[in-house]
């Protein structure tokens, strides 16, 4: 099959995500492009969890409404999702747990007979999916063996029983000619992009949907040669990162909007002390605790304005894992080039969904900042032509390095003298010219997709671009996606939209944050298609809405 989707559902604690990951990994290795959305409520037991995996021969970065196969470990999965089933699609369910229409298998009994734990129904579910995909037993066996390091034999027995009972192949996959691509989540790509740009220390307090950056880096910190630190709260996280950067380490912090709110004083401190730090903000629906495990693009205004005082910042908003990798690396390098706070604005959909990583153009390296050459007396805040002062770090003989949150003279001593205050405000703002030049000329700040010069263009950002690009292709319209949001690439955006008579803003938020921002820069967005239920657009849904607008 060219393009198909599998939905696996159960309650929290049923191991749904694990099976989703195995199925996605399997399809990826078969050369499919994969998109895997992990849908779960904010609880540990109970509730309704599902993994929605789409596989396609061409590049995809969003789900469809309709699915080809539903594997249900509870009745709720069938009730909620049976309407999505395509004609000719199959529902497989655990006949020991409930009754439904479709192919009932005694998953519960298989587990019992093998002496397994109830959660091992997910192994059975995986084997069933393997069978329905036409995989040989040996392939299923190997994956189960590799994935279940504990109770391997029991899991194998369960898998075998399920495989044998599952019936025939319903999703016929051809082994693809395509070279398999690595799979990763947005958060993994952010972590790796930062590591490639020289991340030394990642500091974070857990908060969904940013938490898995911390988990991933902590699990791999030795191989990656860096260190992770989980302190008492987000204030400590951000200030620790600043202290470490002052002393010469490349640092990054990450949280959701609520945790980032606590970091606002540190953003301002980074700006005044000219200390480079990368802040990752992964959006989830607010205000406040909001909807913790779902998605939004509602924190754009917050990230653009967080921190008191006037200062420069660099903000990127990746829309897929390739961009997450490249743009996080860019954010780190730009933070150090200009000694300013930089931000990676992501969202639950990008952070926690699994995508194919196409490292093609994604070369990220650690670019050195401007370092002190050892000549003359060291001044941390030396006023230079471009506003960037050479860096030295404590421990350097001949340099006294004085960083500060107060307004200061070039040496770093507090000042309240009018002329000195004026001079330092201007010194920091001098960096704007270089930064703006980089954004408008050297960097790809705005991406475009679809037929050039089409009358209608979709203006979108972040993870929403995945659905937009696919829908636009089907409808023959263009897509414009700014990936750098501050300094705002107004020129590049205007020229990308030059031919468009109608601009449609598509965002997962309730006001149209990017559309409003674009309007401030003279770009008129005539129509807005907004979604704010915490779920990303599906292809079917967005297509209908765009058709409705273009008539």
């Amino acid at each position: 099959m060219e393009d198909f989707s599998i939905l696996i559902g159960g309650k929290a604690g049923d191991g749904i995500r694990q099976i989703g990951g195995l199925v996605a990994g399997l399809l990826g290795r078969l050369g499919y492009h994969v998109f895997f959305w992990d849908d779960y409520p904010s609880l540990i037991r109970g509730g309704h969890n599902f993994s929605l995996i789409r596989a396609c021969r061409c590049m995809i970065q969003a789900n469809t409404d309709s699915v080809d196969l539903i594997v249900a470990l509870n009745a709720e999965t069938v009730d909620r999702h049976k309407s999505r089933l395509k004609p000719g699609g199959t529902i497989v369910f655990d006949a020991d747990a409930f009754e439904a229409e479709g192919l009932g298998l005694n998953l519960g009994s298989m587990v019992k007979q093998a002496g397994g734990k109830p959660v091992m129904r997910n192994t059975a579910a995986f084997a069933v999916i393997g069978k329905m995909l036409g995989l040989k037993w040996e392939v299923v066996e190997k994956i189960v063996r590799d994935s279940f390091k504990k109770a391997t034999e029991i899991n194998l027995a369960i898998a075998r029983a399920a495989y044998d009972q599952a019936g025939g192949t319903t999703l016929d996959i051809e082994a693809g000619p395509a070279e398999p691509l690595p799979l990763m989540t947005g958060n993994e790509a952010i972590a790796l992009g930062a590591a490639a740009a020289g991340l030394d220390l990642y500091v974070a307090y857990p908060m969904t949907p940013a938490t898995s950056i911390l988990h991933f880096l902590a699990a791999h910190e030795e191989e990656l040669g860096l260190v992770t630190y989980h302190p008492e709260n987000e204030i400590a996280a951000a200030v620790t990162a600043i202290g470490a950067a002052y002393a010469g380490a490349r640092t990054m912090v990450g949280s959701a909007g609520g945790g980032f709110a606590l970091m606002a004083e540190a953003v301002s401190l980074a700006a005044q002390s000219e200390t480079p730090v990368v802040f990752v903000v992964s959006q989830r629906p607010g205000p406040s605790t909001g909807v913790p495990t779902y998605t939004t693009q509602g924190d754009l205004g917050f990230v653009l304005s967080a921190g008191h005082g006037e200062f420069l910042r660099f903000v990127v908003a990746p829309g897929d894992v390739n961009e997450a990798f490249e743009l996080t690396g860019l954010a780190m390098n730009m933070a150090w080039k200009y000694q300013i706070p930089a931000f990676v604005l992501t969202d639950k959909c990008l952070s926690e969904s699994t995508y194919c990583f196409d490292a093609g153009g994604a070369a990220v390296t650690r670019e050195e900042g401007l370092l002190w050459d050892g000549g003359g007396g060291y001044k941390r805040y030396l006023d230079t032509e471009g506003g960037v002062s050479p860096l030295a770090f404590p421990g350097t003989a001949g340099a006294v390095v004085k960083g500060t949150s107060y307004e200061h003279d070039e040496y770093g001593i507090t000042t309240e003298v009018a002329e000195a205050v004026t001079a330092m405000q201007e010194k920091r703002m001098k960096k704007r010219a270089g930064l703006a030049r980089d954004v408008e000329t050297d960097l790809e700040a705005v991406k475009t997709y679809g037929p050039p010069g089409s009358d209608t263009a979709i203006l979108t950002w972040g993870s929403t671009k995945g659905a937009c690009v696919e829908v636009a292709e089907a409808l023959g319209v263009g897509v414009v996606q700014p990936v750098i949001l501050e300094p705002f690439p107004a020129e590049a955006l205007r020229s990308a939209l030059a031919g468009a008579k109608k601009v449609i803003g598509v965002e997962v938020n309730v006001t149209g944050c990017l559309a409003d921002l674009a309007a401030c820069h003279g770009v008129e967005v005539a129509e807005r298609i907004l979604k704010y239920d915490g779920r990303p657009f599906t292809i079917d849904d967005l297509k209908k809405k765009v058709e409705g607008v273009i008539g």
Partner: protein, 285 residues
């Protein structure tokens, strides 16, 4: 003001008679001693928060980071994690450390990060012109408590012992030599060191007479005995009354430090080995 050669050109703006002067001379003397003992001045990094006390970083010509209110411990922690080779010392006020940033002080003690924190404890907010702090006595009449504070004071030494600090001391700004020695010991101590310094605020809470009458130096105290340390710490509850107020080293114990345990020998600020991220992706993802 001092012959240490550590002065900057910054104008000193502390009030005449302020206890901070004693702490400044003690710090300078301590840094000189440490330098003479093989810790060159460029390997010293100090940080402060916000308050009269925190101005000290402008007055000492060593590496410094003038951080924000309450956030001295995380600033120190970041510096130490970036470069364990540095001696990292914080100077800040009681409002800053025990009010705005108390959680950081407790957690830094708990994790035993190898830094030293010197608290200029004038038991008042000096820079904001005289409000009560967590260590002001009950009944303290400040501008925010004109009828007298109804809160009991916090005993920071007792709290630090409970939090697991591995070095707990008290100094008195008038006894600068004694304090200098405590700072040297605190810096040399491998682990988290807290030195609470009784520092009269000449302008908003003049405690010179009170301390001069009550303060005595600990003698014959076993610094490895936690219970004895607790008993000594409880001799005075930071209230308006006191029989006697001990100063000196209350408690010292060796425990592995957070930085040595998590850094795997790395100096993050000078990391040379870089992982091959492409290879990592090929093998893991």
């Amino acid at each position: 003001m001092s012959e240490t050669g550590l002065d900057t050109y910054a104008e000193n703006t502390w009030c005449k008679g302020c206890g901070n002067f004693g702490i400044l001379s003690a710090a300078n003397a301590a840094f000189k001693t440490l330098a003479a003992e093989g810790r060159p001045l460029e390997t010293i990094a100090i940080a402060s928060g916000i308050g009269c006390s925190s101005k000290i970083v402008d007055y000492i010509d060593v590496n410094s980071f003038y951080s924000i209110h309450g956030r001295v411990p995380p600033t120190l922690t970041g510096i130490k994690l970036a470069n364990r080779g540095l001696s990292v010392i914080g100077f800040t006020g009681d409002g800053d450390a025990y009010g705005e940033g108390l959680a950081h002080v407790i957690m830094s003690a708990k994790r035993n990060i190898d830094v030293t924190v010197v608290i200029h404890n004038n038991r008042v907010y000096g820079l904001t012109t005289g409000q009560f702090t967590p260590t002001s006595p009950r009944g303290f009449r400040g501008k925010s408590t004109p009828r007298g504070s109804v809160e009991h004071p916090l005993n920071p030494l007792d709290l630090m012992l409970a939090a697991g600090a591995t070095f707990v001391a008290r100094g008195f700004s008038v006894k600068a030599d004694h304090l200098a020695d405590l700072i040297v010991q605190g810096v040399k101590h491998k682990g988290f060191a807290l030195i609470d310094v009784l520092q009269p605020c000449f302008t908003f809470f003049n405690t010179y007479k009170f301390y001069n009458e009550k303060v005595y130096e600990l003698e014959g105290h076993d610094v490895s005995d936690l219970e004895a340390a607790r008993a000594r710490a409880r001799e005075w509850d930071y209230g308006a009354e006191a029989e006697r107020i001990p100063i000196g080293l209350f408690y010292r114990v060796e425990r592995p430090t957070y930085d040595e345990e998590v850094l795997r020998g790395l100096v993050l600020a000078a990391r040379r080995e870089r992982a091959d991220i492409g290879a990592f992706i090929r093998s893991h993802m």
